[in-house]
Structure formats: C-alpha cells, structure tokens
Amino acid sequence: MRFDLGAGGAVTAIEGPLVFLRRVVRAGLGEAVAVEGADGRARLGRIVGLDEERIVVELLESTAGLGIDDVTVRFRGEPMTMALGPGLLGRVFDGVGRPRDGGPPVPEMVRRRVDTGTINPATRGLPKDFIETGVSSIDILNSLVRGQKLPIFSAGGLPHDRLAAGIAQTARLRGEDEAGFAVVFAGIGVSHDSAESFRAAMEQSGALEHTAMFLNLASEPSAQRLLTPRYALTAAEYLAFDEGRHVLVILTDMTNYCEALREVSASHGEIPSRKGYPGYMYSDLATIFERAGWIKGRAGTLTQLPILTMPADDISHPIPDLTGYITEGQVVLDRALEHRGIYPPVNVLPSLSRLMDQGIGEGFTHPDHPALAQQLFAAYARAARVRVLSSVVGRDGLTETDRLYLDFGDRFEADFVSQEAMRGFEESFALGWEILAMLPPGELARLSDAQIAEHIAPVLARAETATEAGDG
C-alpha cells in the first residue's frame, strides 16, 4: 500500500534527523518513506516508532531546508528495498544504491529488502576454500577463506587502503578464472581521495569491470552511512547467490558507520552504553557482518574484508572490541612496525583467523602448514617477551637461547612480514621454514621429528654448504 500525505498539518515537529508526523494512515515499523520539502527534493527515511497519535520517521538525508508546513511524505508501504539485475559490475552508486556515474539505473530483475533476513544456520555451508592473498603474514599465519568475515583493524595514517586494494587485486583461489570473481567496495563516510585511489588501483589491474562501488562520501549525510553497507551487501548477495560469483566485499571505514550509529541513537534519546555507543551496537554490527558466508546449494560465496580505524590506536575501544567478537578474526596493523618501515605492518600476535583451521593443511595448502604456523607464532611470541626482557637487562643479561630468539624476531619482521611484492604461497611457506631454522631444533617443540627432518634440516644443510664454500 502506498500513500501520500500532503503538505500542511502532517508534520508536528522536526528534531535533528527525526520527523514527527500525525498518524493518519496505517504504516508499519521499519517501512520506507520519502519526505519532500518545498525544494521538491525527495529525502529517504524510515519509520522508527509509532503510537496511536504519531509516526516517528528517521531521515537518512539532511533535514536542512524542510519546513513543518510544506512537507509531503510518501509512504512506500514496505521496508527499504533495492532493485537488482544484471550489470551491477563496473558501476558506481551512491550510499543508497542510486547511480552516481551518470549511467542508467540497473534493470530490475528482482527487488530485495536491504535488511535481508537472517541466514538460517542450518542452511550454511562451511567456509573452507583457502584464498591466496599474496601476503605472507596472512597466507601463512592468518589465512583467509572464502565466505569469511576478516576485518582489518587499522588506525589513522596506516596503509589499510593499500593493503585492501592489494588483496582485492590478488585474492583468488589458486588457478581460478576471472569471470567468477567480483569485488564490491562500500565507502562509508570516506574521503573522495580514498574512494578515487581504490578505483584507480582497480582500474590499473584491469579489475574495475569486476567491481561495483557504493560511495557515501565524508561530505554526505551521516545517517545514510547506516544504509551504505546494507545496500552494498544486498548487491553483493545478488552477485554471489543469484549470479554465482565469489564476491569480496570491502567495507571501509566501519568506524564512520559506528559514529553515525551513535549519533542517531543519541538523537533518539536512547540510554548509551560504553563510550556513548548504543547498547545494541553489537547486534546491529552483527546484522552486517553475519551476511558473509556461503549457502548450501548455491554456487557463489560472500567474503567480507571490513576496515576500521581504531580510535586512539586502542584495540579495546568498543568499535574494534565488538567487531572482534562478531567477525571471524582480525588482521591488526601496528604503528610501531610502520615506523620501522615494515609494509604491510601486520602485527601477527593479536591478529587471528578463526576459519584458518578449516582451510589449510592436508588437501588444502600443505599438510605441515598448521605446524609451521603454530611454531612461528610460538617462537615470535617468545621473541616478543625476550625483547621486553632485553630492554631492561640488556642483550648481555640474556641466555644464549634468548639471544637467538631476539635475532629470530628481528628477521621475522624484516624478511617475513615485510614484503615489497606479493608472494605466492610456496614462497611464503619456504621462507617460514628458513627463518625458523635460526632456532636450535630442540626449541621447536611444536614440530614433529619428521617435520624438522623434512623442512629444517635441508635449510641447515644448505647453510653449512654455503659456509664451507665460503671457507674454501
């Protein structure tokens, strides 16, 4: 059912993004409305509360220019929806799915709610296909699998955009063709520059024709940021589950999303929880992140790579904290590594991929991949502890073994984490063993004797031959 509520007398108040209307039509919670002012411009909104007298509408665009007496409200009689059809790829849309590249609207094959219902867990397939990203610290230690939601926890000034664009260009299953792959980029409150640099990077690698962009720029209304990821994901779901593609969705910057959520919540007069963010932020973020996955019987998958900037570099801030509780791990970028010139500055210890165990090892990557990862983690964690110790007692106060750990830690960062070009899995895998061989085999308790014989011994033998050759 659609209604128009004519100008004059309908609106009783406008407060921030909220418009209060007299309830003279039947309208339900969550339904979409368009509010038009004297300027004739339609502003998108949705019904957030109703009682017997009034309807509360939250506008997702600026309320500036709206007057109480000259407003027309169009009721759509249904929640927010999006028209979907062929030709989404290669296009640029605004934060609520309208073309912003001058092209025609996408032909409507289906119309879907942007808040799609829950994926029934009983219909989910288990994500387990390893995606090679070309980044050693991810491929070997925090592997990404298809259908995973793996955010990048970054901070202002760190190179998360470069990393995400790099992954979007390389991330493929090994030996896979281009056609089945797509990227959806959702820019949430981003600057024009970062949207443009992503576009340029995709264009350069020829991947732009496989990419759809949804942009809510920093200058655009913040309430709209609440919808941008939802429109982008609705499109991504169409690409994945209707068209059968493997879709990688980049959502940046989720911190801007959370700020908008806080702003809107405050305007509703809700009791805030931690740091002013609403108590339902966890559930709200979950409705976005849980849209990643794959569904039994469908060809495509939806993988999410959300990016957030940690306020004050603080991982315990509610935004990264709640995100980490929902997503399937996180890749944490670190300012100290960045200062030491390490790119990508991934701190592997707080990073995690929860789906890694399902996507690596026998039949996926290499049977000894899990052991390699475990041992690298254990050794690097020890190196980090030794570093603290050595900063107090000095290198000389360390035991012989601890000094080896110190060197191991340095080389791990400089040679393994840091990389100029993308590396194939085999290259990263070999490099991992080579660096582990710096430690005495007796220290490698996470490796079996067979693994030491197969992977560590040859490195030591090579080193010995090299030394002998040098001596001779």
């Binding site: 309830r23 039947r26 919670l29 969550g30 339904e31 957030v48 509360g49 109703l50 009682d51 017997e52 929640p79 219902g117 829950t118 994926i119 029934n120 867990p121 009983a122 989910r124 288990l126 259908g147 009791i271 929880s273 931690r274 108590g279 339902y280 966890y282 559930s283 979950a286 849980e290 849209r291 996955g293 315990s316 509610p318 904290d321 980490g324 509780y325 929902i326 399937e328 791990g329 996180q330 210890l349 707080p350 995690l352 789906l355 165990d357 899990p370 475990q374 983690f377 254990a378 964690a381 020890r382 110790l389 007692v393 000095g394 106060g397 360390l398 601890d402 007796g442 308790a445 079996s448």
Partner: protein, 572 residues
Amino acid sequence: MSEAVITSVAGPVIRARREGGFSLGEAVHVGDAALLGEVVRLSGDEITVQIYEDTTGLAPGDGLRGSGLPLSVRLGPHLLGNIFDGLLRPLAPEAVAQRYQLRPLVEPGERLRAGAVLAEVEGPAKAQSLLVPPDVAEAELTHIEAGEIGLDDPAARLALPDGSTREITLAHDWPVRRPRPVTRRLPPDEMMVTGQRILDSLFPIARGGRAAIPGGFGTGKTVLQETLAKWCDADVIVYVGCGERGNEMAEVLHEFPELEDPRTGRPLMERTVIVANTSNMPVAAREASIYTGVTVGEYFRDQGFNVTLMADSTSRWAEALREVSGRLGELPSESGYPAYLSSRMSEFYERAASVETQGGRRGSLTVIGAVSPPAGDFSEPVTSHTKRYVRTFWGLDRGRAQARFYPAIHPLQSYSEDAAGLVEWWTAHGNPNWRAQRGRILDLLEAQAGLERMARIVGKDAMPPTQQLTLLCAGLVDDAFLRQSAFSPTDRTCSPDKQTEMLGTLMRFFDLAEAAVARGVKVEAIAAAGFYRRLARMGEEIADGDPARFAALVEEMETEMAALGREVNDAV
C-alpha cells in the same frame, strides 16, 4: 482467549490496550503474522510485550491474542540430533523425525507417580524414556500403546485420583522459566571427565557443577566449549549458541555427525541438541534461548541422563536483558544493566545440579557458560556476577592465546571449588596421588610467576640453578601438560588414565632433575637432553591406552639423567 490492540511499536517491545485478562509471562500472538511474544509488564489497561521475531511492519491498531499459557517450549524425543531456534522451533524441520517406536515398560492397572518410566522410545538418536509428567502426583495407567507412534499421538492414558483422565504424548510443552521438579539434590562428588588435562587435573568440574569461561574475543571460549561438547563424558549435550556466529552453529552441524562418541561408537550428533539464536537473530529470543536450553537440559536429566549444557555466550543474554530493559524504560544499574541482572543469573545457574529425579534415578545437569567481557576486563558486571554463582572458573588469557598456547586457560586466575570433593573420585579412578600432584603443579606455577618477575630485573643468567630449574619445570608443565590442541587427532582428548601417566612422568622428572642439579648438572644440559623433547611432546606422541610408552619414556629419562650425572662426576 483475551485480546488486545497495539498502541505503540518501537523495536522488539510493543504496548497494547487489553480487553480481558493477561498474566505476566503469558505467551501472546501478535498481528496478522501471529508473531510470538511474551507479556513482560501489566499496568492498568496496558500490557507491554516483548516480541521474539522481527517486528518490521507492525502498526498501532494491529491485534494481539493471549494464549492463556506461560511462554513454553515443546519437549520430546525429537530434540536429540537436531537444531532449533531460541524457542525450540526446528531450524531444519525436514531433519526432525516425527515417528518413534514405543516399547511399554509398565502394564495397565499399575499405580504410578511423577517421573515413573512408562516406556522406552526409540528413534534415530539414542533410546529415551517416556515418563509420567512432573505434575501427576499419583495415577493409574489405564492404557498404553506399543509400536510405531507419532509425536502427538496418544501414547498412554492415566486415570487421576479426581476421576479425570490424562492423555500422555511423546512431546509435551513446558514453561521455559519454571524449573522442572526433582526429589532432591545430590552432592557434587562425581567428576565430569572433560578430556582436557588442565581442567580434569587442575580445575575439575563435578557432574551437576557450574563453570564459567570468561575471555576476550579470540581467546578460545567457543573452541573450548565445542571441544567439551565433543569429548566430555556426558550422555546428552545441549549446545546453546546465544548471540554468536552462524558459522559456528554450522560447524557443529557439519562436524558432529562425522565424529564418533568414543564411549558409544555412535555419531556425536546423536547425543546433541543445538539451540541457536545467532547474533543477527531477534534479540528478545536471545534472552529466552538460555532458559530454553536449561529446560531442555532438565528434560533429559529427568530421564536419568548426565547432561551438559554449553551456553555461548551468557554475555549476549545479559545484553539482551539490558536492551529490553532499556526499551521498557527501566532504571539502569551498573553499565546500563538492569538491577535484576544478578538475580536472573543466579536463577539460571541454580538450575544446574546433580539430582535424584522424581522417578528415583540419578541424573545431572552441568552448566558451562562462556562470558564475553568488554575489552577482556573481568571486573565488568556480567563476569563479576557470574563469579558469585559458579563453582569453577576457567579464565582465558589473551597473552597465552596470542602465543597460540591453547587452551589459553590461565592457571593462576582459574579455580575449582569442586576439586576438594573429587579426591576420592580420582583415587577410585587410579590416581591416589592426585591431590598431592595437583598441589605440586600449582605451587610450581605460582613460583614461576614470581621468578619471571625477578628474571626481568636481574636477568635469567644471574639466577641460581635451583631457580632456573624451577623455571624449566614450570615451562615443561606448560608445554607438555597444559597445552593441548583441540585440532590434534591424538591429543584433542586425554583420558584420566593418560593424565595420570603424564602426571606421574612429570613428577618423576621433577625429582630426578632436582637431584641432578643438586649434584651439579647444568639446567641447560637437562633442557638439551633428548628425553626432554620427548617429554615436551608426550601428549602429542603417545596415544591414549599405551602405558608401556610412558614406562619406556621414564626409563629413557632415568638412563640419560644418570649419564648427565656421570659426566659431572667425570669432569670433577
């Protein structure tokens, strides 16, 4: 039934003007779609209802019908092996068997009381019992079916003392917020074997016990709960996914049918019930899902089973309480949680117990709740209130998790009030020295923490050999005993016998190493010895049920240690 008309809608909470009587906690059906809700407040003509489904499209003027009954879930033999939502409606209805074989165990004419077994029920999962309902004080069986029967077909008929009859069906409704009655509670003196060394040997939980697993994100709560769900020696597992990931539920659904219960040889899924309210499902149903899980647990306990309930995560339940409370406009207490948070938690944990059932059997319901403290801070309200109601506390540590040291349970932050009562259990199960061994290990770990602080000031090199040895021994306890990967085929679970062997081997090492160091053997020499690496990897390398390998390891250790001693003597 009573009716009402909606007057206001906002999120999952609505208000309505009533025509007729409603009671607090009554289940109602809202709007044309008959969304399920529960009355949470009565005030004059107005009722307030929380709705367990998506409220999009609801409007003032829409109708609402009372059910006359408290919010209930449907219990029955169809639960085992399947997945349900927070109110126990099947999420994969096609997989739920509708027909069962009934084998009567009593004859018409017998006088029976609540809890008495009427028949054995066989279906795709394990055999279950059909009982006389809890509210029947005494009755005479007048009829009982045999053979194949549907869930809602009449299975038996009872004549009650007041002359009325009562039809018994395989499935029945039970109000989720009402504990099912028992004859009496029993002391927690039987251990629930988890197969995790750090738990069984250091911080054990008794059947009917209550444990909490607090930990920041990524510290291993879910993997630990899944591991316990797989390998603990319960008869029935109720796995409640409360506000967590859909993929984790899918993982249980995929993995459990493939895994075999080592004690019965049957697929693990056959002893498992999943209650799933994932983080993107309606928040009010999240609040109910915890009670639903406990009610299911009690239902199986009443049949004489040992039931273990996993709730992942109780924090999401508390947050759902907070959200609904906020929408009701209640005065918030700590961190916005309602003042009744603590009493709700105590009610929940109180439903765990080892009991004598109404039918005179022994059954138990063990409850293990994950807690997700914001920023991993254990002083927040949910963790601190939980601590008051659980007897066992398995605190997860971010530092251990980041080093991929799993399970990342911190031995100095964890405790078990059940431990003291389980000494006899361990004695009866082959380890009379358990109490002393446990004490020695805990002392060692305590000493390690102090010495490491000291090493940070003076450097390890400057410490006397005895202290260096303490650090070595504690490190070995960590690596060889406490570390246990959930993904290792040999080590993911460890029987009490193997735990006893490992503890004995470690004790022997401590003694030999102390003696050796006293004789002047260098600590580094011990660490570099071949047997030391074998000790560190014994969990991984020696399978369950192979005590000879432990004997051989001890022998190797004795020989090599003696050799180290001789080298020192020769040098002098």
